[in-house]
């Protein structure tokens, strides 16, 4: 429970982290919430989720591995 995190618990101060994986999805870790445009929360059961980056997943916004079938390529680091 977040309210019980002690002052010395460093994780309490850590922001939500989004990591692009090479040729794969964005992994999201931390105390995130996913909402649609209307503000409805989409229930996420797992602590770490993978958001689709190739656009072709059939369970968007989540990744279903389809990027491997279509040869999606993208680096982890910024392309700028």
């Amino acid at each position: 429970m977040y309210e019980n995190w002690g002052e010395n618990d460093e994780s309490a101060a850590e922001p939500v982290t989004i990591t692009p994986y090479p040729d794969g999805p964005y992994l999201v870790r931390g105390a995130f919430v996913v909402r649609d445009q209307e503000g409805n929360e989409m229930p996420m059961e797992r602590r770490t989720i993978a958001l689709c980056r190739c656009g072709k997943s059939r369970i968007r916004p989540l990744c279903d591995g389809t990027h491997k079938l279509i040869g999606f390529r993208a680096p982890s680091a910024s392309e700028q």
């Binding site: 994986y21 090479p22 040729d23 794969g24 999805p25 992994l27 059961e45 797992r46 602590r47 770490t48 989720i49 993978a50 997943s57 059939r58 369970i59 989540l62 990744c63 279903d64 591995g65 389809t66 491997k68 079938l69």
Partner: protein
């Protein structure tokens, strides 16, 4: 359909029927006290070596069943078997002879990693998986597999899926902090993230029950062919031996990397056959979960281990290739059996309800 199953008690299996001299000797010994083992010849190196001469260890019924039961002592109670057998030196010596023959056969099947590959393990894993077309089994099941074939598939998978994640958990204490954290991130999700109802082995039991199959751990052991047991023995062996920590990590990475898409197809197969969410949930969950896990396993776990211990990098790739090779062998057995119009199990299923 959570709650339709009774909470399972601790695991308990019965000794299966022996399939040859190795399993016969082992099971006979297991029915006695561990102190009596030396008299049973289980520690007789020469005697052992003479018997473990299978020409095809990967599909050898006797060798794989004996090895499977020897390993099961680490996972479960066995009816009528003294729990002290788990660490009996006589049993471990006997098991080592089986393991050596199996390891040799797997090594013959799997090409060694090239020197350049071992330096960039995560990219090499991506390439190995991308270059492997994978068995046609999941595509066949999605399009035209019958209900009977689907049930057989689930029964084969029960050898691992009812203890899903357990073989890879043996690796946890052997890893340095970065790969250990990555493995725990995957395993925590496999075990339900703090909820036993979401544990993958529990979801699989629900799928079995929904299909009218017996979800009891070990219920179908007598029907599972050696080639099916070999796939589980591979990961248990890699997991139990610290020396193979690279291989068990590579095995997990390749397992996760080849999971999402086939599991979507199996879910589609079950929907096509008219089954509902209580049965398909296990597969749907794996589409989503393994799309997360595969990235962690390939980059943070395998890449992290290779960075911390470069000397095991080649074994990481060996573990990945060994998984793909044994999965292909197993899938070919199913497809070949079905093409001949035969069951892929040792004895056909007798179904309680249609």
């Amino acid at each position: 359909m959570v709650g339709t199953l009774q909470a399972p008690a601790g695991r308990l299996i019965e000794l299966p029927k022996p399939r040859g001299p190795l399993s016969e000797r082992l099971f006979e010994a297991l029915r006695r006290a561990p102190e009596e083992a030396p008299e049973l010849g289980l520690d007789d190196e020469q005697h052992r070596a003479g018997e473990v001469h299978s020409s095809d260890p990967i599909a050898d019924e006797d060798l794989q069943l004996a090895l499977y039961v020897a390993y099961e002592l680490h996972y479960t109670r066995v009816e009528g078997v003294d729990e002290d057998w788990e660490w009996s030196p006589a049993l471990l010596g006997f098991r080592a002879a089986l393991e050596r023959r199996f390891e040799e056969a797997v090594a013959e099947l799997v090409p060694a990693a090239g020197g350049d590959e071992a330096g960039a393990v995560s990219a090499a894993l991506q390439r190995i998986v991308a270059e492997d077309p994978g068995p046609p089994l999941s595509r066949y099941m999605e399009k035209e597999g019958t209900r009977k074939q689907m049930l057989e598939h689930v029964v084969h998978r029960s050898a691992y899926q009812l203890k899903e994640a357990d073989p890879h958990s043996w690796a946890i204490p052997r890893l340095s902090p970065a790969p250990k954290a990555a493995l725990l991130e995957v395993q925590s999700d496999e075990y339900g993230g703090g909820s036993s109802a979401r544990m993958h082995s529990v979801l699989f039991a629900q799928t079995m029950a929904g299909l009218g199959l017996d979800p009891t751990y070990g219920a179908y052991l007598d029907r599972l062919p050696g080639v099916t047991l070999a796939a589980v023995n591979l990961m248990t062996g890699f997991g139990l031996h610290r020396r193979r920590r690279g291989a068990i990590v590579g095995h997990l990475a390749a397992f996760e990397m080849t999971s999402s898409i086939p599991n979507r197809r199996y879910g589609n197969a079950l929907r096509r056959l008219g089954y509902g969410r209580d049965v398909t949930h296990f597969y749907d969950e794996h589409v989503e979960a393994d799309a997360v896990h595969e990235n962690i396993a390939a980059w943070d776990l395998a890449g992290g281990l290779a960075a911390a211990e470069p000397e095991v990098a080649a074994d990481i790739l060996f573990g990945a290739r060994a998984l793909l090779a044994l999965e292909a062998r197993w899938a070919a057995h199913l497809m070949d059996s079905w093409e001949r119009g035969e069951t892929s199990l040792l004895t056909p299923l007798t179904l309680a309800r249609a």
